[in-house]
């Protein structure tokens, strides 16, 4: 049973375009929703994270939109660049133990 569902599986975007990756979760007890970026041969690295008490968080070109009632959150990458080409994972966790549950990942390719 997949607790965090991520889509699309892969995404190709032109340089300068907007990349959008969506996630949906089931467990309403989740209270922390991060996005991780992973380059080939490297470990995942935190990109941006949100708590359910806000609906949007922006850091540079990266924005998380959060819809608590729909149990969905998404990552928007504005002005996408070839250097953004990577695998992106959404995740969710709750409380003690910091047990992150990851989505299946989205392979993003930004064409120059």
């Amino acid at each position: 049973q997949q607790q965090v569902k991520q889509s699309p599986q892969s995404l190709i975007v032109q340089k300068g375009g907007i990349s959008i990756i969506n996630c949906a979760y089931e467990n309403t007890a989740f209270d922390y929703f991060p996005w991780y970026q992973q380059f080939p041969g490297k470990g995942p690295a935190l990109l941006i994270a949100i708590r359910p008490d806000v609906s949007e968080k922006k850091e540079g070109r990266f924005t998380i939109s959060f819809n608590k009632s729909a149990k969905q959150f998404s990552l928007h990458i504005m002005d996408s660049q070839p250097g953004d080409s990577a695998t992106y994972f959404c995740a969710a966790s709750r409380g003690y133990g910091n047990k992150l549950v990851f989505g299946a990942g989205t392979i993003l390719r930004v064409k120059s």
């Binding site: 992973q38 470990g43 935190l46 133990g97 910091n98």
Partner: protein, 113 residues
Amino acid sequence: DTAVSQTPKYLVTQMGNDKSIKCEQNLGHDTMYWYKQDSKKFLKIMFSYNNKELIINETVPNRFSPKSPDKAHLNLHINSLELGDSAVYFCASSHRVEIGELFFGEGSRLTVL
């Protein structure tokens, strides 16, 4: 100066062998983790230690045994390796056990032949 370092980066071994992966973090964090990433890139938590105490133990075969000699180290020993154990194993650490950013190592790619 690497924050979370794992050794070895690559492991190729035969079925039935025993192998270990070592992890060290120099971030001063209290909590460390092992995650497994399969061939489809799916990431799943295996274990978590807080101040050397095991706090998360997912449904992992008994052949996998973590050991935390101190807060900065978390090792993973795997007995009787099977083909299905082939994956990339990531060590991670976080400052707080409740919630927060996980810092991942670069991974150890295990191939079982």
